[in-house]
């Protein structure tokens, strides 16, 4: 959604040209892309550490920090406000940890508490600020829902720098991050300072969330963190591939989200990016080869088919047994009453060379008979 100009994009090529020539569009696209990449990267850690909802809590907890930073400095400089957000996000995170470790309240309660209480307090401060006679205060509420259109070049630079630092730290501490993620106790026995690594990861997650507040806002920030990671998780079991994939999914959500929202009137960028990321998730859930629902269902059907094939074969074996010549032909009709028999299973048996078809008659081949009798003995031994 543009406040300064409305873009009517007619076709793709023109849009791509515009991305490179138009200042606003270029800044926004770059910003959302970088943001998507960094949140996807760090989100992988949040998802694997089972801290998925931490992002939601932190982004809400950042609000009072923004308001207090504004109250203290009186300026709307986005860097100052983000430092405020960072501090209050960190306070929220550590309070959550305090509640979970020191009391018997569970993590969901702690998250919900910090989320709603900090957010409410932030709203109290924001409404309080709005009543102050200070012309500068307008626009603070963009942090609620985010306004990608307000991104300027310096914001994008900040994002790029933070992403760079984040990337370097991640590469440096890759081994530590990985071991803490999958076996924290083992990491501790190896002599790693787990507390430090833990705080490092958490701080970077908070940082990424705070960076995104201006673009997608408090409410939708958690999805930016989770969705690319959840989608990437479906395609791989390797951490490095997952982080890379999540970064790519995040970046693509940013690019496509911005493009879709720019091509229509009245479409805020944040929600569109979230929905694009959601499409990635749904696609991954369904079409991932190893974990996806579609292939799972196909495997399920295939297994059932195999079972029916065996059943038919066993039934044929049962009939063939009564004859001296195992290849004695029988009418296909005989099979009709048997549940599990279909024309395709019969065809499959023929393809596998277990059965021979002559018009309306079938007969077991030698291999077919042997397979069937083995099938039979295996089953009967299992029954006994």
């Amino acid at each position: 959604m543009y406040t300064n100009k409305t873009l009517k994009v007619i076709n793709l090529i023109e849009y791509i040209e515009l991305v490179f020539t138009d200042y606003t569009l270029r800044t926004i696209t770059l910003g959302t892309t970088i943001l998507g990449a960094v949140t996807g990267m760090l989100g992988s850690f949040a998802v694997l550490r089972k801290q998925s909802l931490l992002g939601d809590a932190i982004s809400h907890a950042a609000l009072p920090g923004i308001a207090i930073a504004f109250l203290i400095t009186g300026a709307k400089d986005s860097n100052t406000l983000l430092i405020g957000a960072l501090i209050s996000g960190l306070i929220g995170t550590f309070w959550i940890r305090g509640i979970v470790t020191k009391t018997h309240l569970k993590s969901d309660t702690a998250l919900g508490l910090i989320l709603s209480l900090f957010f409410g307090f932030g709203m109290l401060l924001l409404t309080f600020i709005q009543k102050q006679p200070n012309a500068n205060q307008a626009g603070l509420d963009k942090y609620l829902f985010g306004q990608a259109a307000t991104l300027v070049e310096s914001d994008v630079w900040l994002m790029a720098i933070v992403t760079g630092i984040c990337f370097i730290v991640m590469l440096t501490f890759w081994k530590e991050f990985k071991i803490l993620l999958f076996d924290a106790d083992y990491a501790q026995t190896l002599g790693f300072n787990t507390k430090f690594i833990d705080i490092l990861i958490t701080t970077f997650i908070v940082l990424a969330i705070v960076l995104g507040l201006q673009t997608v806002g408090v409410v939708l920030m958690s999805a930016m963190l989770l969705a690319p990671a959840a989608a990437a998780r479906q395609w791989t079991n390797s951490l490095s591939v997952m982080v890379l994939l999540a970064a790519i999914f995040g970046a693509l959500s940013g690019v496509f989200g911005t493009a879709i929202s720019a091509s229509q009137d009245n479409l805020s960028t944040g929600p569109v990016i979230v929905l694009v990321a959601g499409v990635f998730v749904v696609f991954s859930f369904i079409f991932s080869p190893s974990r996806g629902l579609l292939f799972k269902q196909i495997r399920f059907i295939k297994n059932r088919r195999d079972l029916e094939l065996h059943k038919t074969l066993a039934f044929m074996h049962h009939i063939a047994e009564t004859h001296e010549d195992i290849s004695h032909p029988h009418a296909v009709k005989l099979l009709n009453n048997f549940q599990g028999y279909t024309r395709s299973t019969l065809q499959k048996l023929v393809d596998k060379n277990y059965v021979q078809l002559h018009g309306n008659m079938w007969s077991l081949t030698k291999t077919g008979f042997e397979v069937a009798s083995n099938l039979y003995t295996k089953q009967s031994t299992e029954d006994e």
Partner: protein
């Protein structure tokens, strides 16, 4: 106090009670974040309902929006059941998507809908008294008062009717199922009540305050008691207190009522979190320190019992041998002396008769793997705790 002020406080208190009841069970069932998910994902339901009814207080809209809430719960559970992601990730994926759809719906139809996302999230309690319900031309009070009141009445009726079932299924799902109450029905019943409460209350207090009112009073109450009925009572009490006190803070600061009620709730929780008698942070830290000293004391006594030689029991040697810092060694030594477990003569520490008896018993328990018994034994032997 004007009539409108009284009505606002009444509405806020009713919302607080209506939220505290399902909130208590959500906290106990470890499903607190579901309330957050519901409160966000009712947005598309509200928007669609508003297209149809053009009235934010219409029962049809409340039902539609509550249905969206239940769809969210079902969707979360479906995703969870596929095993592709963990439950918390499922929650975190579903509600932002629903919320985004709501935001886009509003933005796309900005000209037809007099709905503001801010208003949905934050509510505006101050305007609640202006929207009156007229029955046959007579003014019977603010609409939201009636809406919230009805929801509260339904909630209380359900609570009283199904208290036993709720209680059992919350604490022991297996027992509930074997007794013939379907945990699924209770579960979805609770989800429906939470959804309806959230929707009914959002107009007055906003979606975020609903979450705060559900979780914070219940969490604070849970730190103070382990009795379900007392917990419900305390949660309701905290809710009403915060609603009324929060209103006056907002009045004084001239700021958002919802924000102010949440802040008061936050302060209440903070106080309970710090000072709750046995589960507050101060009590927990004190108890941890006490236990550390008492374990040290036990180690110390066991050491004494193991060594008869005089040089092993010399004060200086003990300092080295057990390798404690000076301060801690002194604390432990003082505690042992105060409890008549040891006596010190010429810097030689020896067990008293009582100390010897205590240590022997402790060894017995340790050998027979009944360490827990030592805790009970402490009550018999200790005059002063660590």
């Amino acid at each position: 106090m004007s009539n409108a002020q009284l009505e606002i406080q009444l509405i806020a208190s009713l919302v607080a009670v209506a939220c505290a009841i399902p909130g208590t069970f959500l906290v106990l069932r470890k499903m607190a974040m579901i309330s957050d998910a519901i409160s966000h994902s009712i947005l598309p339901g509200i928007v669609v309902g508003f297209f149809i009814t053009q009235d934010l207080n219409s029962p049809l809209l409340i039902l539609l929006a509550a249905l969206t809430g239940i769809i969210t719960v079902v969707l979360v559970e479906y995703i969870q059941k596929t095993g592709l992601v963990k439950e918390d990730t499922a929650i975190g994926l579903v509600f932002p998507a629903m919320f985004s759809i709501g935001v886009i719906l509003i933005a796309k139809n900005a000209n037809d809908v007099h709905l503001d996302v801010d208003a949905v999230l934050l509510g505006e309690l101050a305007f609640a008294p202006f929207d009156r319900l007229l029955i046959a031309g007579t003014d019977v009070g603010p609409k939201s008062l009636w809406v919230v009141g009805t929801i509260l009445l339904i909630t209380i009726t359900l609570l009283i009717l199904f208290f036993k079932e709720l209680k059992i299924s919350t604490f022991d799902k297996g027992l509930a199922a074997s007794l013939g109450f379907s945990p699924a029905i209770i579960h979805y019943g609770l989800m429906s009540v939470s959804s309806i409460t959230t929707v009914g209350a959002f107009d007055a207090v906003g979606a975020i305050l609903v979450v705060a009112l559900m979780i914070a009073p219940a969490a604070a109450a849970y730190l103070l008691t382990t009795d379900l009925k007392k917990m419900l009572g305390l949660a309701i009490g905290f809710g009403i207190f915060s609603a009324i006190f929060g209103y006056w803070v907002a009045h004084w600061l001239d700021a958002s009522i919802a924000g102010s009620i949440t802040t008061v709730l936050g302060l209440v929780f903070l106080l309970v979190y710090l000072f709750a008698p046995s589960k507050g942070i101060i009590a927990v830290m004190y108890r941890e320190k006490q236990q550390r000293t008492e374990v040290s004391l036990l180690t110390f006594l066991l050491h004494l019992k193991n060594h008869d030689d005089i040089e092993e029991r010399h004060v200086n040697h003990l300092n080295e041998h057990i390798n404690w810092q000076k301060v801690r060694a002194k604390t432990v030594l003082d505690l042992a002396k105060k409890n008549n477990m040891i006596h010190i003569k010429d810097n030689i520490v020896s067990l008293t008769k009582k100390g010897d008896e205590f240590t022997s018993k402790a060894i017995d328990y340790i050998i027979t793997n009944e360490d827990a018994q030592i805790e009970d034994m402490k009550d018999d032997f200790f005059l002063f705790r660590g």
